[in-house]
Symmetry: C2
Subunit: 482 residues, 2 copies
């Protein structure tokens, strides 16, 4: 909020092309997406960043509901004994748990975990609620906050507390659960590519990278401009692991009692980090118009004698556009236009409209695209259509650019030596074959710091020689990851 | 979800007129608004109840944004030292705090409170963010979960964890802060009366009932049908108490450094409890149409030979109405219409549309109002308008009924004896005068279990004799409270 603090911010921004890691931290704070909290590894999501999250929520929630899901709210605190019911699950999460041990002035008999994920508490409730095949499927999602005690944290990308949604479903058959896990993966993919303009590769995780307690984990992996992959979302086929641990049974049509088949799936505020790194440039953030908190900003170009005239025109223009777009008007007197341009570019506003006395005379507006900095003169008459068209162009060209980057930075490799070279130079995704033996996976990691990102679906049948041992292997994407 | 569990539910519902307390718990669980969680005092908000909360959120959020507020997200965990900075604040909340003492496998150096409210953490951030008068006002709201270790809990009304929104604002002057506290009180009143159809009395709290750390607390009090008051929301003028404790200073236009003036304000899932108790009847819930998760349900009245014809008509009708209303279609084969009627009445669906072969012939639909059980034949031609009109009628007549109840159950009293009589018989609000001495307040409480609900604004000037001591006093509402 502090103007005194931000006065010189645009000038201080580290160049993304020089040091992406520093650029990232700089831009997240300067654009007021988030700030460090006084609690280890926690952040404050500031209004501008939260508006982005609200847009993400609205667009995802609509998709969840369109695919038959409903929302609910389960408790934040989970008794330790519940977490322990599924053996792999507790092993995976116990080291990261924050424990409530005192409440209302007394030491608790049993420690309560601040949820690191909600399978345990939700499965307990499902065991109470589900009786018959008529109760299935259960298709519930929860928007919630999560705590995982992380050692190394970065704003949005890895924080002790984060916001997310977690879908938890129960089905009568294995096939239905598998179908759900894949359906939600596709919902995520379509959302990330169409709304966030962030292309992803999707597929199955290796055993070592799968969710604690799942039979299979599917993931979406985006490629950041430093060549590292970002896991942007996951869906899990839980099989009957939790159903057996929590005794979630139903009476089927054939009058026999069966365990349900389950899935869970989630994306988090981490996506905001992905969005920032995918599209930003040396001048700051670039938000795809569909998700941008502010889609366009109107900046008056005025002098002392034209302040009233131009101010009125800018306000009028903004009011007209506000019915269809998310609009900001920058009428601040204490800053010059150039300063404002820098600031709104740094904040990633996709489109800037400038209006001055000459533009008023000519019935036009100057439009400047954030992504290409292209300057256009557009007539005020049908400005809504023009703006709409420009925003669509920006959206698709951001996607195309990111898609091109992903394609150009995906390398076919056939030896560990080649992998080492790629990781030393460009980084990016490495497409190769792998035998699914954890020993070979570890060998790649030791040599290159790259891990299995996914085994893509289209190629589950495609076999080749394992990049490490030469035995038959499946098509696999490796990369260094956030 | 379980049909087997709910099969006989409508018949088991305790009558509200006989035992409101049992009716409340019955109906909340039978209608699947919420369920008990396996953690002491916590609840699960089930999909039907959560849909209600989503409607509440959407309607409130729109109002917050229209009054210039933005949303943000602050950390769940608050260091103990922060809570202690404002003396009254910690004294008020410490007994109810749940403490995180271990994280990531280690005992923490400082205990972290799971937020019982967020003033402490937010004020810490505001001290970082606010520098100049240009940064003011700060108008931030947060939608969040809260933990308070309550001794006695009831679904929605008082739970260890609850969902709420908390507004936290900072201003340059005392007058602006006071104006904000009163503005948000009015936003809440308008929302509760127009959307929840729940009339409230508003005013200032007594010293003993005000928020820990505030200079003044304003509240909205609704009257439940058992004659007890429910505090449905509060706004606080925090003065400079927190600003001084957290050193939130700004450089004013006159170049001097000043402490900001603050407010906070919140409503929670508790309102759902108020909504349930305000409108329900012996048959179950009654939801005002504007807030109802399902505004109307279409029930086919079919026989074996008309199943296809009537089913198609019901689906067609529902599809047509779904573009404007929140519609459910009950095409279940395993239940008879009468059973369905009972269930949807119990669930509080404001309007039921029945359609059978004769109705199809006549081009009509049978509409049944949940509140009056009135049956109407409406032509299919302009059904959208008819349904809209009926829903509006239901909304306003629910409000009128509740308003009448509040008026009829507000009693002018002049002695403690009269108060005792009222509390022994009808209960309700008692309008009287009070000198603002805590001793007299306590005397009333000891004799009647009634507490000061509010000192209404319209009568801050109206003086009379204190109901206890006879000294000059202000108009004051007393009631027993949830």
């Amino acid at each position: 909020m502090s103007n005194s603090e931000t006065d010189k911010m645009p000038e201080r921004l580290t160049k993304k092309s020089q040091n992406m890691s520093r650029w990232y931290t700089d831009v997240v704070r300067m654009a007021k997406l988030a700030d460090y909290a006084p609690v280890r590894g926690c952040m404050v999501i500031m209004p501008y960043g939260y508006a982005l999250w609200e847009n993400i929520q609205a667009l995802l929630d609509r998709r969840f509901k369109a695919t038959g899901h409903v929302n609910a709210s389960f408790p934040l605190l989970i008794p330790e004994s519940f977490l322990k019911k599924e053996a792999e699950h507790v092993e995976g999460f116990a080291p990261e748990v924050a424990w409530v041990t005192e409440g209302g002035g007394e030491v608790l008999e049993e420690r309560l975990a601040v949820r690191p994920t909600s399978e345990a508490i939700i499965c307990h409730m499902y065991a109470k609620w589900i009786r018959s095949y008529r109760d299935l499927p259960v298709l519930i999602n929860q928007w919630a906050n999560i705590i995982r005690w992380e050692k190394v944290t970065r704003l949005f990308l890895r924080t002790t507390e984060f916001l997310w949604q977690e879908g938890h479903t129960a089905h009568a058959t294995a096939a239905e659960a598998e179908e759900e896990a894949l359906k939600m993966l596709e919902v995520y993919r379509e959302f990330m590519e169409n709304e966030l303009a962030m292309p992803v590769i999707v597929g199955r995780k290796s055993e070592s990278e799968k969710f604690a307690g799942a039979t299979a984990t599917y993931a979406l992996e985006a490629l950041m401009s430093d060549g590292k992959a970002l896991q942007a979302g996951t869906t899990h086929d839980l099989g009957q692991n939790f159903a057996k641990a929590f005794e979630i049974k139903f009476l089927d049509k054939d009058e026999t009692e069966k365990f349900v088949w389950q899935t869970s799936w989630g994306v988090s505020t981490r996506m905001v980090g992905g969005l920032v790194m995918t599209h930003g440039d040396d001048a700051g953030l670039i938000f795809p118009p569909r998700i941008a908190p502010v889609q366009l900003v109107v900046v008056p170009i005025w002098g002392d004698d034209t302040r009233e005239l131009v101010g009125d025109a800018a306000r009028g223009l903004a009011d007209r556009l506000r019915t269809r777009f998310r609009v900001e008007t920058d009428l601040r007197d204490e800053y010059r236009p150039g300063w404002k341009f820098n600031e709104h570019e740094m904040r990633g506003v996709p489109l800037r409209l400038e209006i001055g006395p000459k533009d008023i005379e000519k019935g036009q507006v100057v439009a400047v695209r954030r992504d290409t900095k292209e300057k256009l003169f557009i007539p005020q008459d049908n400005i809504e259509t023009e703006v709409e068209g420009l925003l669509e162009k920006i959206q698709s060209s951001l996607y195309d650019k990111a898609r091109l980057f992903l394609t150009e930075n995906t390398f076919e490799v056939n030896t560990v030596d080649e992998m080492t070279t790629v990781m030393r130079t460009t980084r990016g995704f490495m497409s190769t074959h792998w035998c699914e033996d954890p020993v070979c996976e570890q060998a790649v990691k030791d040599a290159t710091k790259a891990t299995v990102r996914v085994l893509p679906f289209e190629a589950e049948q495609t076999t080749g020689k394992c990049v490490v041992c030469g035995k038959p292997g499946k098509l696999t994407y490796f990369a260094q990851a956030y």
